[in-house]
């Protein structure tokens, strides 16, 4: 492998480029019109445009990505997560073009990307699945009848897709058909397919997942579990490893189920098997993500492994140099997803230009970011800006480091969820490890907004502002720090 085309954007494109650089592999970035000048285009060795802002015509366009690979002479493609990362058609098209796809082959994506088929496959392999319906009859009447049989509340899930899109929780038959219509519409828009499965909504479940890795010779290992119970709108917000919920015995069983699932799927490369753990300690297969996970850095922190490097090695045909059950995890790692979501506006996406940005530094801190001062945050893509990861010898230590690091993370110009993240890691129930997927709604539904800084903060801001406004327009020089802020205007 000489040159990897990174078919993604934002923090994951930056992160993949870093490992390639370390391995001596050249990188080519791609960008849409909305991303010209974005951080990921500057971190890669070269960057080529692939189309307009609309993802369907750029990052989701197989033709555009393959044309970029030809143009840059790349011999491999890393898909990152999201976009085309779990597209079987894309994996096949890359292979047909004579390039190496850094991920599982097309068939694996298709098998596991179809929740209906995946549920059936797992049940056949002895991996427990959530009580539900994965049948072929997709008529309104059949689905309504099955939902009533499963028992309310029921979750409607698009059979293809992920990331919470198209998910609907229905609490009674009155709302079922309108929820079904909404789910199908969102699923069609996001995934081009509107088949759904139904699952019983478990009460207060934890979200656990097992990182697996398989080479082309069929060796499968697990890299322990992650807990991702802190979610908002079915999107993970805070993740950690090890999970505070598991005994050693449960951990062994869960990880063994993850390996069994990967084997049943004839899995190759890095993947994640997701489970729900109910309060009684029973776990159920949820789905398999056939790609690198957003939250993979916590696993890297405790195992000392570089998952992107392992992905590249497996894709290049090398055998896994990890024997089963030899993974030693040290300490505890925690990740917070920093997103352009406005906690004072119902957590809706915010947009704008990042006017000031400074990530935290210090012992046990890792910051995977896709932004810089001057970056435009638009509405076309996922609002994830960066991931803040802390490591500690114990869970308490990584949480303390996170609490401090979050207060030293500065993003100005675009509203972010920083205060919500601070509230999570400060919460006594979080510190006690009492997590479930409804944690945010239960404990942190509405944040108390502090609109006014303390008087001394206002005083200091006023001094800073008065200096800037006093500088005459024509007298600015390159050494004027206000000028070097970038291309936006000062009032």
């Amino acid at each position: 492998m000489r040159k990897v085309l990174i078919a993604n954007r934002g923090e994951i494109a930056v992160r993949v480029a870093r490992t390639c650089r370390v391995m001596g592999i050249a990188t080519a970035a791609v960008y849409s019109e909305a991303d010209a000048g974005a951080l990921h285009t500057r971190v890669a060795d070269e960057a080529v445009p692939i189309g307009p802002a609309e993802a369907a015509r750029s990052y989701l366009s197989i033709d555009a990505i393959l044309a970029a690979a030809r143009r840059t002479g790349a011999d491999a493609i890393h898909p990152g997560y999201g976009f085309l990362s779990q597209s079987g058609d894309f994996a096949d098209a890359v292979a047909r073009a004579g390039l190496t796809f850094i991920g599982p082959p097309g068939d694996v994506h298709r098998t596991m990307g179809d929740k209906k088929g995946a549920r059936r496959l797992m049940a056949a392999a002895g991996v427990p699945v959530v009580p539900g319906y994965d049948g072929d009859d997709q008529s309104d009447a059949a689905l309504a009848q099955e939902a009533a049989r499963i028992g309310w509340p029921v979750m409607i899930k698009p059979s293809r897709g992920g990331g919470g899109k198209g998910l609907r929780v229905v609490r009674g038959d009155k709302d079922f058909l309108s929820a079904l219509a909404g789910s199908r519409r969102e699923a069609r828009a996001a995934f081009g397919d509107d088949v759904v499965v139904l699952e019983r909504l478990l009460e207060r479940p934890r979200h656990l997942e097992v990182q697996v890795l398989a080479d082309q010779a069929g060796h499968v290992v697990h890299l322990l579990e992650r807990e991702c119970s802190i979610q908002r709108r079915h999107q993970k917000v805070v993740e950690e490893t090890p999970s505070p919920a598991l005994s050693d015995e449960q951990r062994l069983r869960l990880c063994a189920a993850g390996v069994a699932a990967a084997r049943a799927a004839a899995y190759v490369n890095a993947g994640t098997v997701e489970f729900l753990l109910d309060p009684s300690g029973t776990f159920y297969f949820l789905e398999m993500n056939t790609r690198l996970q957003v939250e993979h850095p916590v696993t890297e922190c405790v195992t000392g492994l570089d998952l992107v490097r392992l992905q590249i090695e497996v894709a290049a045909g090398l055998p896994l140099a990890i024997a089963p059950d030899t993974i030693i995890a040290r300490g505890h790692a925690l990740e917070c997803r920093l997103s352009a979501e406005d906690p004072w506006n119902a957590d809706l996406p915010s947009a704008g230009r990042i006017l000031h940005f400074s990530p935290p530094e210090g012992p046990g801190i890792r910051f995977d970011g896709g932004i810089a001062a001057g970056s435009e945050v638009g509405i076309h893509y996922d609002p994830l800006l960066a991931k803040l990861v802390t490591w500690g010898a114990t869970r308490a230590e990584s949480i303390e480091r996170m609490a401090d690091a979050l207060r030293r993370t500065v993003v100005l110009g675009v509203a972010t969820n920083l205060e919500r993240l601070q509230a999570v890691v400060d919460h006594p129930a979080f510190r006690r490890g009492e997590l479930h997927t409804g944690f945010l709604e239960e404990h942190l539904g509405a944040l108390q907004r502090v609109a006014c800084p303390p008087a001394e903060g206002l005083a200091a801001a006023a001094v800073a502002l008065s200096r800037a406004s006093r500088t005459p327009q024509g007298a600015r020089t390159a050494s004027d720090p206000w000028e070097s802020l970038g291309p936006w205007r000062l009032g």
């Binding site: 809706l348 996406p349 915010s350 006017l355 000031h356 907004r449 200091a460 801001a461 001094v463 800073a464």
Partner: protein, 157 residues
């Protein structure tokens, strides 16, 4: 200078000789030294106590990072005085995005909580719902429109 945060407009007087500044905030006076240490980055010293902070201006909006929190303030100028809070009975776009469904027409009667318009951003749908029962006065949203927060989509009588 007047800075608006939340519902309050706060009068601030700055006497800055370049070194020690004397600042009065709503009657409370601070003696402080503010040094610029980088773009948008400052250190505020009061006696032996130092605190770094960040502050940038974008038009009349001031973004301040102080003590681990971000504040969004508005600077009240002659131009902006009185205009930064808009009034009206219109229902606004909750976020930047694209209108994907308009479910009402002028004259329709709606109940509290009814979906009026659906806006999509980042593939997430968000419904604009009626905050109360009433009759639709006007609908300015059209399917396919790109809208920004604050843009009025529907007006109720």
């Amino acid at each position: 200078m007047r800075l608006v945060c939340g519902d309050q407009a706060i009068e601030i007087d700055v006497q800055d000789a370049g070194g020690e500044a004397r600042v009065t905030v709503a009657g409370q006076t601070f003696e402080m030294r503010v040094e610029t240490v980088g773009p948008g980055t400052f250190v505020c010293s009061q006696g032996d106590r130092h605190q770094s902070f960040h502050c940038v201006r974008d038009g009349d909006t001031v973004h301040l990072f102080w003590g681990g929190r971000v504040y969004r303030l508005e600077e009240e100028t002659e131009r902006s005085r009185g205009s930064h809070r808009h009034v009206g009975g219109g229902l606004e776009a909750p976020m930047p995005g694209k209108v994907i469904a308009v479910k009402v027409a002028p004259g329709d009667t709606v109940g509290k909580g009814d979906e009026l318009v659906v806006v999509e951003a980042m593939k997430m749908e968000n419904a604009v719902r009626a905050p109360r029962a009433g009759r639709v006065k006007s609908v300015s949203a059209r399917v396919g429109d790109m809208v920004s927060p604050g843009v009025v989509l529907v007006e109720l009588e």
